[in-house]
């Protein structure tokens, strides 16, 4: 376990190094992105700007400063917002966590039963439905889906509220965790809770679509595989109820690949909400990432890289740990 953690940290640092190199070698200059044309034409202003943000230091020294900050959990100041990067992330992070978690729960709550039923009733209408949902979910482009949903359910039918986390007229609740559903529930502000929940529906459905497809597909395939195993035939020969065979014998085996996929899918939801957040004006990390990339905001880019890399490493670790719980054959290390 200790050695796993060490490798995990090395992976994160390696990822940061790669991104640092790429960000510094692709064409693009924060000077042009931040300063107006007039200022950018003035060598004195440009030099002052470079000095202010440490861009005049040699590459290796800049990376060293970044690493040093990393050990203190300090990513420096954002070139675009002039605030500590951690403060930006604390502001935008909760919106993304809330959206991704709701999307994740949604895709699990629908995908697992759908995949299981599809495998048990193979080639029935529910299997066909499951196959259609996974095909559409996996292959429909997110931005297209987002626009269509917004146009239909907000524009045409007016069943759902528009973009943003809350109604423009609503007062945001006191910030406790930054997760609106939790904060409003804690404060007992049920009107705002309903408003926040209603705003979550469309973006969560859009974000969940591909994860839902993947989870349905994987659950179905894993269940079909488990149901075709010899031990299932043995279970039938014992005279067990069909229900017991599905939930007691096939399901625990089928969960192994689903857990792996689920972990990665959640990490992907957290890291990959750029498109959805942009269309729904969701003030989350996705949009922050997009903005930082356009602004070539080095400290912000590095912070996001480290956070995303750490997220994936952490998820892998959790997946491995749940494997050890679910599968007695895994050697405990």
């Amino acid at each position: 376990m200790a050695s796993r953690l060490v490798t995990a940290c090395i992976m994160v640092v390696l990822a940061s190094f790669v991104v640092f190199l790429i960000a510094n070698t692709v064409p693009g200059d924060p000077v042009l992105a931040q300063l107006g044309d007039l200022a950018a034409a003035n060598p004195a202003v440009v030099a002052a700007f470079r000095h202010r943000w440490g861009l005049d230091l040699p590459l290796w020294e800049r990376y060293w400063i970044f690493l040093e900050g990393l050990t203190r959990g300090d990513f420096g100041e954002s070139i675009a917002s002039h605030r500590p990067v951690m403060q930006d992330i604390a502001e935008y992070g909760p919106a993304t966590v809330e959206l991704a978690s709701v999307a994740f729960v949604l895709s699990l709550a629908l995908g697992l039963p759908l995949g299981i039923l599809a495998a048990v009733r193979r080639d029935s209408w529910i299997d066909n439905l499951a196959r259609m949902i996974s095909l559409v979910g996996v292959s429909a482009p997110t931005f297209w889906l987002a626009f269509v949903m917004l146009a239909v359910f907000y524009g045409a039918l007016d069943w759902a509220p528009g973009p943003g986390r809350l109604d423009v007229a609503a007062f945001p609740p006191e910030r406790l965790t930054g997760l609106l559903l939790l904060d409003t529930a804690w404060l007992g502000d049920w009107a705002t809770f309903r408003d926040a929940a209603a705003h979550l529906v469309l973006p969560a459905v859009v974000l969940a679509s591909s994860t839902l497809g993947l989870i349905t597909r994987t659950t179905r395939a894993a269940m079909l595989d488990a149901l075709s195993q010899d031990y299932v035939r043995v279970a039938r020969a014992k005279g067990l109820l069909a229900r017991t065979i599905v939930t007691g014998h096939a399901l625990p085996n089928a969960m192994l690949p689903v857990v792996t996929l689920g972990g990665l899918a959640y990490a992907n939801l957290l890291a990959g909400a750029v498109m959805t957040e942009t269309v729904f004006s969701w003030p989350g990390l996705g949009r922050y990432t997009f903005r930082s990339a356009v602004a070539i905001d080095f400290p912000a880019i590095m912070a996001i890289t480290v956070i995303v890399a750490a997220l994936f490493v952490l998820v892998n670790l959790l997946v491995d740990m749940s494997y050890a719980l679910l599968d007695p054959r895994t050697v405990k290390t």
């Binding site: 200790a2 050695s3 195993q229 010899d230 031990y231 035939r233 043995v234 279970a235 039938r236 020969a237 014992k238 005279g239 067990l240 109820l241 069909a242 017991t244 007691g248 014998h249 625990p252 085996n253 679910l326 599968d327 007695p328 054959r329 050697v331 290390t333």
Partner: protein, 679 residues
Amino acid sequence: MPEPAEHPLLAVRDLRTWFLADSGPIRAVDGVSFTLHAGETLGIVGESGSGKSVLAKSIMRLLDEPARIVGGDIMFRGRHLNQLGDAEIRQIRGREIAMVFQDPMTSLNPVLRIARQLVEAMTAHGRFTVAAARKRSIDLLRRMGVAAPDRAVRAYPHHFSGGMRQRVMLAMGFSNEPALLIADEPTTALDVTIQAQILDLLRDLNASLGTAVILISHDLGVIANVCSRVLVMYAGEVVEEGAPEDLLSDPRHPYTWALLHAAPRIDAPLDASERRLATIEGQPPDPRAWPAGCRFRARCPFAEARCAEPPPLSATGPTRAARCWITQDGSSLPPPPRRTAAPAAAAPSAPSAADSPVPMLRLAGVTKHFALARESLFAPPRMLRAVDGVDLDVFKGETVGLVGESGCGKSTLARLIARLHAPTSGTIAFDGQDITTASIAEMRPLRRRMQMIFQDPFASLNPRMTVGDILAGPIALHGLAGDPALRVAELLDLVGLAPAHAARYPHEFSGGQRQRISIARALAVGPELILADEPVSALDVNIQAQIINLMVDLQERLGLTYLFIAHDLAVVRHVCDRIVVLYLGRVMEIARAGDLFARPLHPYTAALIAAAPVPDPRIERSRRRVPMLGEPPSAIAPPSGCRFRTRCPIAAPLCAAEVPLLRPGADGQFVACHFPGAL
């Protein structure tokens, strides 16, 4: 055998189970009738695809899609099983009829504890409370011979060997005291030693609990060991039925006759000058279109004009019946003609050290230790001693057999000789040349002279290449002269295939034909030594005989030398000049085939021989039983002194203290035992 007055336990009448596939029905079981009385033991034999398992699954109503019972009736204790609803048949499964399957490695759910899997079998039918079922699981495991049953129930299946898992499966089968147990090839995946233990257990349970048993096997010896009545199936039908004493000494159906004569027996006289076995030609027929008339006609050596009409199953004696026109009058079939040996080629039939002083292959102190993953970061590294100090000479033109239980190092030894593994220590010399540390480039010219054949011909043939390309590959690789197309045709002819087969892909061939292809591929480069790792183990008896005959022919024509690995002792005894007995990576005994079986000097050899079943119930009953305890210990921490001592019935204190060296005994036999011949 007088008919018992009471109703039979099970009466199957004209059962037809077909797979309703899109391409037309596959008539897997096609008109089978038999009865079984309470407490009776019935054996079902037949080659793979003859319908044995589908018959068993039809009784349990455990058929896979798209199988349907399309005709006939299954009557069990007054109920028509074929008409019962799902809920009713579920009451019978596991409660009144239990089933044990072939592969114990996959029959237990890997993520559930043994206790849970045993308990649910009992609680599902409401006969036991969970607490009572828990207690009973431990008793059952003890009854089945599982060591430390109270600990075993808490373990997961992956901690158990195949033999132990099959004991767990038997415990599960007997847990509700069923009236009938169906065992479908329960010992096929196990070693002979473990097979003998499981068959003993099955016989004993039948006698003490009165449970009727249907035992399915492709091995007549296994059936003769346990059953009081036999059905022989061919092409979805019963072709012969009767007591094993009658069927196996005087078969009345040519297929039974062929099965009996195609399998070598460990109690038959040996003749080193004629190793060919009696075989029937051809392949089993296609179940989509059974041949008209007698279904066995195309392969039958006795076929006549009237065989164009389908023969009925008719009595050939008071308690037996056969489906054949020519034995309808009660006559017997003649024994197979003795083949006259082909005029011996230049190769001497009985080579010895004197003929060729330099062995083709010499192994001295060869070891192979595999490093295993550590159990934790701070644990010491673990070594698996797969091969641990083997000395062996193989001379030109001889066939040396390698026997022993699975995991004893047979395959590893063959792979060391082929230098697919590098030995940990010791030396290997091929034709006088030391190849212990030979590089890939140095091995290249030797690969031409030394080829391997494997057990599973399908896994070793590239499915996307035609047979012609598969055979031409090695020819091109070694830059051999001549027209490759001609050579391919010549090779196909050599192994008994047609030149037209060159254009086909491996999946278009049967198992036996695929093994012919892999033999042809090995021969493509003109080797002198063939390392054959279980080349016939996955094949049906008759196909096995065909391949053995082919290998014997090729040896005579090409003067080949064979290292022949097999777990079937009768096969090894039949084809080999000398036999090496391995146990936990060490040689226990080396002897000429005849001597080894006539006078085994090592207790392990004696136990192996005693465990091999003979297809004759009279002989089985009178044979000496050599008790062999338990299962082989781990090769990670082998016992001190003699490795066999933990299972040896005559082990003495000396055996734990001192390693017995391989020493010459009588008649040029070599044995590693402190008390050779004492058992």
